[in-house]
Amino acid sequence: MAKPKVSSDWLAGCSGCHMSLLDMDERIAQVVALVDLRSTPITDFKHPDESGVDVGILEGGINNSSNEEVALRMRSHCKILVALGDCAVFGGVPAMRNFFTIEESLRRAYIETESTDESGKIPNDPELCVPTKVRALQDVVPVDVFVPGCPPDADTIFYVLSELGQGRMPDLKGDKLAWN
């Protein structure tokens, strides 16, 4: 049996979950022995194979039209979709802007920040993606495996990848289940 192909990408997150993935240190070699690691934001290939992968991993919530596109592409190119980390699972820290309007958040970010002078303006180039309310991954595409944590522990990520690599669905409980 061929090794399962795995792709990952990041959306509205801080990339901390991918850092936590790297935090598994030498065990990454064990993971590579089990799976065929394809595209990730921290390797050369940036997009999942056109022919599809077995496992797609997404970090971060969905906070604009570009995130939506990446999520939809990953969903249509993978069999099992993993939501990695609190932002992907719940919306996480970026979702705090949902308590304000998008206009308020943009004004705060581009005009009212203490380090911005009078020239601050909200970018409006038509080529830019459109900001939206922040949503958890499951509110945009169906998700098969939820791995909460901010970030999830390297041990948890190793467990999830090694289970998926061996054709099993991970079951997070006890020490492996933590939302913070």
């Binding site: 699972v89 820290v93 979702a95 958890a136 499951q138 509110d139 909460p148 409980k173 913070n180």
Partner: protein, 650 residues
């Protein structure tokens, strides 16, 4: 008794027991959020739903009393699904994002419940509706966004404290926790006892100071005694890496059952004055850092020549916040070994001397215990403001008022409990004993006297007039006091004791005096209760510790040529001293305390003291060595030598 079956186990439980308590007693776990063992069942969170045979729907086990032959199941799929659904709804209501909540990671009962159900995500998305947050209080933050509407805080505020500050405004999803009629908590009737913080299952009621300083799993917990006053509440002191995180009431404590006041919970957290780090000795007019040896030698050189002089040698006073061991050693060194007559405490017996003399005259104990307040149908408070001092005693009274306990306040001053009283007797003239006599006369007039008294009903008019009040006031007061079972009189000790005891006998009431600081009673038992008078003394030794001295005491102190202060913090006192000895504070020392109801309790060290600070016992022993005397003896025996106002536990 009722016979019930839970998950196939048959149990015998007393009638009236709730299904939840029966299950807990049998070791069957039913998760709950709104339930608290010290609060009345509320049935608000629906986490504890169980299946009862014959019942149409799932039932909340916390509010469901057992019935004979009831068959209950707590682990069916229907129950487990409902539990998860309840959690799903709770998480969808407000902002329960964990990563930036200080209770996340073990201290949040909501998060723990979700973990226990194996929830990896929220099936419903949150509604992102912001709720108000109230940060107007110096210690407590009300964060409605984290609230699950369990109302534990509301019940604690009402049922345990009797304060009824917290309540809910609006209905359903819009419900918000408010203080009083919706005023900021900082401007409300809140008494800052912090019970709401202690019972909150989530991060909705937060203690500002301890937030992010350490979670339950990361802290060390020391079970000890609060030394804020003579009530002697048991507390749990939470520390992390040898620094204070927070203080909580001990739910297991027989006397206070988890309740403490602002003095016990928050005062120790307040920013403190500067700590004294090393001994200081005055050289050429200024205080200079010195070694312990140098400091003790300086003191010894001054004390040795005046040893044995009873009236113009050394005067010595010690704080009643010190442990019995320290007070005993102190007394031994200064009174017994150095022969000084002027050995007393910071309180100078103000709250104990008269009662002690009275106990001596009766030759027996005459006071009851705080437990008597639990069954009191009427309480009279005489001259003690239980809102300012001994607050937990005040809570014990306030929480009884809702169930119909009468409250009578007899006080010439403003009294914090007056607004809750059925009757207030505030004399505008006359002596302090006049109102007591007038109440007695009124009781006699009502024909309700339970003991003989020389005071006659016909005295009432003149006695009432002598206090500037009318006869009806005293008839009302007498009625408030005598129309219920088991009256209790709480008083602050004074010279009126003979009359007060007479009144207590006439209405068959228990007497409780609030005394003063943590070890007032112990100091009194050791005869350290005289007024401080400095008259030709050559030296003074003041073991103030982590206490504060009154201005009057400081003035007396300043009169003496050679002044030694044993203190934890810099103060006006240390700045005028000739030698300053650094001392541990209450969290840094072991020792015993004698509570106002005569209970001997052990305080344990929760924090290791700084290198230079010594406990008073250590200092006394070192000083005794230098002076060539030996401190020995058994303080436990000494406590029992004098007749006490209240029975002292062994």
């Amino acid at each position: 008794m009722a016979t019930i079956t839970i998950n196939g186990n048959t149990l015998e439980v007393p009638d009236g027991t709730t299904v939840l308590r029966a299950a807990q007693a049998a070791g069957i776990d039913i998760p709950t959020l709104c339930d608290h063992p010290h609060l009345t069942p509320y049935g608000g969170c629906r986490m504890c739903l169980v299946e009862v045979e014959g019942a149409r729907t799932l039932q909340p086990s916390c509010t469901l009393p057992v019935n004979n032959n009831m068959v209950i199941k707590t682990d069916t799929k229907k129950v487990l699904d409902a539990r998860k659904f309840v959690l799903t709804l709770i998480f969808s209501e407000r902002n329960h994002f964990c990563p930036y909540c200080q209770v996340s990671g073990g201290d949040c009962e909501l998060q723990n419940a979700a973990y226990a159900e194996g929830m990896t995500h929220w099936p419903l998305q949150p509604n992102y509706q912001p709720y108000p947050m109230d940060a107007s209080h110096p210690y407590i933050i009300l964060e409605n966004n984290r609230c699950i509407l369990c109302r534990r805080c509301v019940r604690a505020c009402g049922e345990l404290i009797g304060n009824y500050t917290l309540g809910f405004e609006e209905r359903g999803a819009k419900s918000i926790l408010v203080a009083d009629t919706g005023v900021p908590l900082g401007e409300s009737t809140c008494v800052s006892c912090g019970s709401c913080v202690q019972v909150c299952p989530t991060g909705a009621v937060i203690d500002r100071w301890s937030a992010y300083r350490g979670r339950e799993t990361q802290v060390d917990i020391t079970n000890t005694v609060c030394v804020g006053c003579s009530v002697g509440c048991k507390v749990n002191v939470l520390t992390r890496d040898n620094s204070l995180v927070r203080i909580e009431g001990d739910w297991e404590a027989e006397m206070n059952e988890g309740v403490i006041c602002e003095v016990g919970r928050f005062n120790p957290m307040k920013e403190k004055c500067e700590r004294i780090a090393t001994p200081l000795v005055r050289k050429n007019g200024t205080l200079k850092a010195a070694t312990w040896d140098e400091a003790l030698n300086t003191i010894t050189a001054q004390l040795k020549p005046i040893a044995g002089k009873s009236s113009d040698g050394v005067a010595a006073l010690i704080s009643t916040r010190q442990p019995v061991e320290a007070i005993y050693n102190f007394k031994q060194l200064f009174a017994d070994k150095l022969g000084s007559e002027m050995v007393t405490t910071t309180e100078e017996g103000a709250f104990t001397a008269d009662s002690a003399v009275f106990a001596d005259s009766l030759n027996k104990e005459f006071e009851g215990s705080l437990k008597d307040l639990q069954s009191a149908g009427a309480v009279m408070v005489f001259g003690a403001d239980l809102v300012k001092h001994h607050q937990v005693t005040g809570f014990f009274i306030k929480r009884k008022l809702a169930s119909g306990t009468n409250l009578l306040i007899v006080d010439n001053q403003e009294n914090g409990l007056a607004r809750l009283a059925n009757k207030v007797i505030k004399a505008s003239k006359g002596t302090k004993t006049d109102p007591l006599k007038a109440i007695m006369a009124a009781v006699v007039k009502l024909g309700l006297a339970k003991a003989m008294t020389p005071i006659k009903a016909t005295d009432l008019d003149s006695l009432a007039a002598s206090t500037g009040l009318i006869t009806d006031d005293y008839l009302d007061a007498a009625y408030v006091l005598t129309s219920a079972e088991n009256p209790v009189i709480v008083y602050e000790s004074g010279s009126e004791l003979v009359t007060l005891k007479e009144l207590a006998d006439v209405v068959n009431a228990k007497l409780i005096s609030v005394k003063g600081e943590a070890n007032s009673l112990a100091a009194s038992q050791l005869h350290l209760d005289k007024a401080l008078k400095v008259n030709g003394h050559k030296a003074v030794f003041f073991a103030v510790g982590d206490d504060e001295a009154s201005q009057k005491t400081v003035k007396e102190f300043e009169k003496v040529p050679f002044k030694v202060v044993l203190a934890t913090y810099s103060s006006a006192l240390t700045s005028v001293a000739d030698v300053v000895l650094p001392s541990t504070n209450w969290l840094e020392q072991d020792g015993h305390y004698l509570s106002l109801e005569g209970k001997l309790q052990e305080a344990k060290q929760a924090i290791k003291p700084a290198e230079g600070a010594w406990s008073t016992v250590q200092t006394m022993n070192a000083l005794a060595d230098k002076l060539g005397v030996k401190l020995a003896g058994d303080w436990t025996k000494e406590l029992h030598k004098r007749v006490s106002v209240v029975e002292i536990s062994k």
